[in-house]
Amino acid sequence: MAKKKKIGSYPNTMIIISLTAALFLIGFCAMLVIQSKKLVSIIRENIDVSVFVDKSLSEAGRDSILMEVRQKPYVQPLGDSTDITFVSKEQAAKDFMEGTKEDFTAFLGENPLRDSYRVKVKEDYFEESRLKAIQQDLEKINGVYEVVYQENLADAINKNITKLYIVLASFALVMLIIIVLLINNTIKLAIYSQRFLIRSMQLVGATNGFIQRPFLMRGATQGVVSALLASFFLIILEQIAVRNVEGMAQLQEYEKLAVVLVMLVLLGILIGMVSTTQSLHRYLKMSLDDLY
């Protein structure tokens, strides 16, 4: 016996593939947002300004600079004191040699580095203009030779990530448009191939809601399946990144990732149902004579 034609059934592989791709890109964007925010927050927590002192300065002179810097409102407090570390020029040379594996004092004959204070700044001041103001303020202190901070770091991070968002979001948008067109076309074909069933239902007095229900259920199922597939691929990608990229583990926020995945499922259902509904509305309103 021939298989019974069921109302609301239509091929959906292409829809699921496209919807999965779009949801994957959207989820990927969301993960990037979370991780870049985490990265910026880690950088903020570790931001410091190096205050290099004059070579000729005595220990008393250095202490006096320390006292003055401690009074500054932008210095991060640490317990009862402030988060300021003294780095002697010997220590700085040692650190440098460890990094470069070269003993520069051997061919220079002396250590050209200076004593410095590493001053941690409050998170609120993590802005290019405010850091610049701090630099100028500290350089006014007597005995300070130079104040250095890593310029343009925050701006560089934000700028590059924004570019990436735009590219990914554009891809996601194109995919969404393709999905809406694909669903629209598929529903049109489904309604055409089921026009006798639909005609029968309409003539006996089935409501549009009743006729639409199986289509909508299918739309919602496509959304859920696509979102689960997209979530699965995102988790795999995230795990690959954590295992292969140094420091990635530090950027992971699993609670937020879980929220993203739940949102993806909801978004999948929404896209599946909304675009199915609008296609159904368009074609069910059409006279069946036109569809014939």
Binding site: K4, K5, F196, R199, S200, L203, V204, A206, F210
Partner: protein, 225 residues
């Protein structure tokens, strides 16, 4: 006005259109409860358009009409399914679903119109099949039935929701005279039980054999005798 005396179908100064094309002008006629009415006229005279307007497949653009308690000139799209549940439709383009049995065809209609209880569905199917004289064939597929039997199932399907009126477009068009008579007997039985019938037909021998009021579509007008 008492509800029981209200006609099942009432058209006043109605113009019937097929798309943008007017096919019948200034239509005035009514069908009372339990009445049997023939609708006759040549092919293309507007019979089908008139019937389609009665079950709101075509919008009534001018004039007024009331069918089974619904005012067609004011009807909302969302009310159309409920109007159709009060009308039984027996049409040539509304055939049985060939991929399912008689019982499944009827179950499909009942489910589509909100029936859920399996026992109620089984009981109603058995009642309508008895009514059309097909009590023993619920499991058969449409292709296992003769033309007359298929038409009986179509009538049974139209009767499922106890309509106030049966609208039939050429229900005997493809049947031989003997089977046509049997189908007419079914319509008569249904009519005698209180359901109004509006039947479009070309078969004038039926008019003699089963006399009833005649409504004619000719020259762009509807003439009621």
């Amino acid at each position: 006005m008492s509800i029981s005396s209200e006609p099942v179908v009432m058209l006043e100064r109605a113009d019937i259109y097929q798309g943008d094309k007017p096919v019948l002008a200034d239509v005035n006629f009514h069908i009372d409860k339990g009445e049997f009415v023939y609708l006759i006229g040549r092919t293309g005279s507007g019979k089908s358009s008139l019937l389609k307007t009665l079950y709101a497949d075509l919008w009534l653009q001018t004039g007024s009409a009331k069918v089974a308690g619904y005012e067609l000139h004011k009807i909302k799209r969302s009310d159309i399914p409920f109007l159709r549940r009060r009308i039984g439709i027996v049409f040539q383009d509304f055939q049985l679903l060939t991929d399912r049995s008689v019982e499944e065809n009827l179950t499909f209609v009942l489910r589509a119109t909100g029936w859920q209880d399996k026992a109620d569905i089984a009981r109603r199917i058995s009642e309508v099949l008895m009514q059309v004289g097909l009590g023993t064939s619920p499991k058969k597929m449409p292709h296992q039935l003769s033309g007359g039997e298929q038409q009986r199932v179509v009538i049974a399907r139209a009767m499922l929701n106890e309509p106030q009126i049966l609208i039939a477009d050429e229900p005997t068009g493809n049947l031989d005279p003997e089977v046509s008579n049997q189908i007419m007997e079914v319509f008569k039985t249904i009519n005698n039980a209180g359901t109004a019938v509006l039947m479009a037909t070309h078969d004038y021998t039926l008019l003699d054999k089963y006399p009833a009021r005649i409504v004619r579509c000719e020259d762009g007008e509807v003439k009621s005798s």
